[in-house]
């Protein structure tokens, strides 16, 4: 098939939906297995899907935090090191105004977001250097600092998704028809 025909067929396919597009696609993707993608497949969903094995506690998290996190986030995650490094504990009520600083305590909808972002992006200068157990412990430490779990609670793939964040049901979807 000439290039022009490919383009014409593609245009037609785009006009008539997915079926014809499949038939005419160049198909240049290299097949992989999910096992090949494992190291990259780090996104955790709010229902706990894709949380890794392992576990952690607030006490273990406190030690790791002091060593690897407090230089930016401050002692006991209270912030204050620099305006662009956020505190991870506390927060004002959102009724204070539209410019209220969004925090884990006053804003986040799901605890899995803390685990996911810590694992993918922290420490800022050494992303993905933490073990899964360390990420569970840091997540547990932050949740305990905010009194969302007890000091002795263990966080793992089973317990973490069950932690209810205070702001979870305070969200409105402005355009549900677009989803």
């Amino acid at each position: 098939m000439s290039t022009r025909n490919v383009i014409a067929a593609t245009a037609l396919a785009l006009a008539f939906g997915a079926g014809p597009a499949m038939a005419q696609s160049p198909g240049l993707g290299k097949p992989l297995t999910e096992a090949d993608i494992k190291q990259w497949d780090i996104a955790v969903l709010p229902d706990g899907s894709n949380l890794p094995p392992g576990s952690g506690t607030p006490a273990k998290g406190a030690k790791i935090f002091a060593e690897k996190c407090s230089a930016c986030h401050g002692d006991a995650a209270k912030g204050g090191v620099a305006p662009f490094y956020p505190a991870l504990v506390g927060g004002q009520p959102l009724t204070n105004g539209i410019d209220t600083v969004k925090t884990i305590a006053n804003y986040y909808a799901y605890p899995t977001t803390i685990f996911d972002y810590t694992r993918r992006a922290m420490p800022y200068n050494m992303p993905r250097s933490l073990t899964d157990d360390e990420v569970y412990s840091l997540t547990a430490y932050i949740l305990a600092l905010n009194n969302f779990i007890g000091q002795d609670d263990v966080m793992d793939a089973n317990t973490l998704p069950k932690v209810k964040m205070p702001n979870r049901d305070n969200f409105i979807m402005p355009y549900p028809d677009r989803l």
Binding site: S25, A43, T95, T100, Y107, T113, Y117, P127
Partner: protein
């Protein structure tokens, strides 16, 4: 004044010229003779019928020519300039702007590379047309710009698919590529206008986190179909190859609507700060979702509530409720010329010009006011008008040297109207705390009108009209 009595004025140094208002009397007479559109006002404070421009640029250009003829103005004798008397510069392999354009630069939030995020804002008041030059496209980087070897970069599609697939820049380049115009706008663009007091700063600092390009790439729907997407899948998690592996949840519906895996930007491979070697392009959706350096798309049944969609790019409403998955950048326009920092040197004719765009469709109309919104005239739109892309509007204006307040208001073909500031903040709120810098983001998704007040000296201030 009776135009028949107009007498050219001698300025005492041999040049004869007329003050602009007098010239316009003659222009009007000349135009009426030829049946040209009238330069009569269509709205208060000197706004002129846009048809004065629409006649293929003929009317005003012709009128100025006529004025020249009438005055018979003698210029200073012309001499050869130095650069026309010597062999010029070497023709370079990649050309860069003239050294005289050295001040046309992006404004940086983090010029010294501190260990935090960086923003670079487009200088809308110093450029024209609708295509943002690649070097001036806005860029936000949350953890620096990765130095990606395109030969090593991979894009993986997996999750709820029949067959996970891996693509390279080389393999994607063999697909029938499509091109389209699209703006990309940070959800935090224009956020300084949440301030209760208008910040005195340029259109670059207020609205510089939006840019517009021709993007070229592979329709994402084609790649998803090749992988065989599960009909039960509702979301994609798109993830970049940067240090944070920044990820965002995208509705499958949007992927099949108009999403691209973009590899070219205005004909060049993407700029590093805009996602080299490939990015997700979601026309009209908040910039952060247009994931740069995209290396993985996982097909799933629920959104991830990633850090950026949970925190930064959602917003608090008055009363404390919060919006999630807002996505769409709503209809907006702003005047770039004249604007803060570009003062008017003398009364006379000016072209008020700016850009308008909407995340839901095409711009259908832009109204301009020169009297702070008391009266409005319809601006000329420069075509072609693309969906979810910049449209430049132009409004001829006769400035009489008195105070005037200029603002523009855009409409799109979906019936959406850019809100006036008063109406916008009544619904979405204002910052409670003082906003002391245009680099601040008191909230997200700001799209009201922007007003520029011209004083009787031609100086321009940012005001809330």
């Amino acid at each position: 004044m009776d135009s028949r009595q107009v007498v050219p004025q001698d300025d005492g140094v041999g040049k004869v010229h007329m003050a602009p208002p007098i010239r316009e009397e003659i222009m009007g007479q000349w135009r009426r003779r030829r049946g040209a559109p009238s330069l009569d006002d269509v709205a208060g404070n000197g706004l002129i019928n846009r048809r004065a421009l629409l006649g293929r640029g003929f009317a005003i250009a012709g009128a100025v020519g006529a004025a020249g003829t009438v005055t018979g103005a003698a210029a200073e004798p012309l001499i050869d300039a130095p650069w026309s008397l010597e062999f010029g510069q070497i023709t370079p392999p990649v050309q860069t702007p003239s050294p005289f354009e050295k001040d046309v630069t992006r404004a940086l939030s983090n010029p010294n590379g501190e260990f935090r995020n960086s923003h670079a804002r487009t200088p809308h008041h110093l450029i024209g047309g609708t295509v943002t030059p690649n070097g001036l496209h806005f860029s936000i980087n949350h953890c620096g710009i990765p130095n990606i070897d395109p030969a090593q970069h991979k894009l993986v599609i997996h999750g709820m698919v029949r067959q996970p697939l891996e693509f390279t820049l080389e393999s994607l380049s063999r697909y029938p590529l499509v091109s389209r115009m699209a703006f990309v706008e940070c959800a935090g663009n224009s956020a300084p206008m949440f301030s209760k007091v208008p910040l005195q700063t340029t259109v670059q600092m207020l609205h510089g986190l939006v840019s517009n390009s021709e993007w070229t790439g592979v329709p994402l729907s084609m790649l998803l179909d090749e992988a065989g997407i599960d009909p039960k899948a509702k979301w994609l998690i798109a993830e970049g190859a940067d240090a944070q592996m920044l990820d965002r949840s995208v509705p499958v519906k949007k992927a099949y609507d108009d999403a691209l895996i973009a590899i070219y930007q205005n004909g060049e491979h993407l700029m590093p700060g805009n996602g080299y070697p490939m990015r997700l392009l979601l026309p009209g959706y908040q910039g952060n979702m247009n994931v740069k350096f995209v290396h993985r798309i996982k097909v799933v049944d629920q959104p991830a509530y990633s850090y950026f969609e949970t925190k930064n790019y959602s917003q608090i409403l008055p009363g404390g409720k919060t919006w999630r998955f807002h996505f769409v950048m709503e209809v907006k326009s702003f005047i770039t010329h004249p604007s803060f920092g570009l003062s008017l040197k003398e009364p006379g004719l000016y072209a008020i010009s700016g850009v308008a765009y909407s995340g839901t469709g095409r711009i259908s109309k832009v109204l301009v006011s020169a009297d702070g919104g008391k009266s409005w005239g319809e601006a000329a739109l420069q075509g072609p008008i693309h969906e979810k892309a910049f449209t430049r509007f132009v409004m001829p204006w006769r400035w009489d040297g008195q105070p005037a307040t200029l603002l523009s208001r855009a409409y799109d073909d979906g019936g959406n109207v850019q809100p006036l500031r008063t109406d916008f903040v009544a619904q979405r709120g204002e910052a409670v705390n003082p906003v002391t810098t245009p680099l601040a983001f008191p909230n997200q998704h700001y799209n009201s009108t922007t007003s520029w007040a011209v004083d009787n000296k031609g100086e321009i201030k940012h005001v809330y009209a």
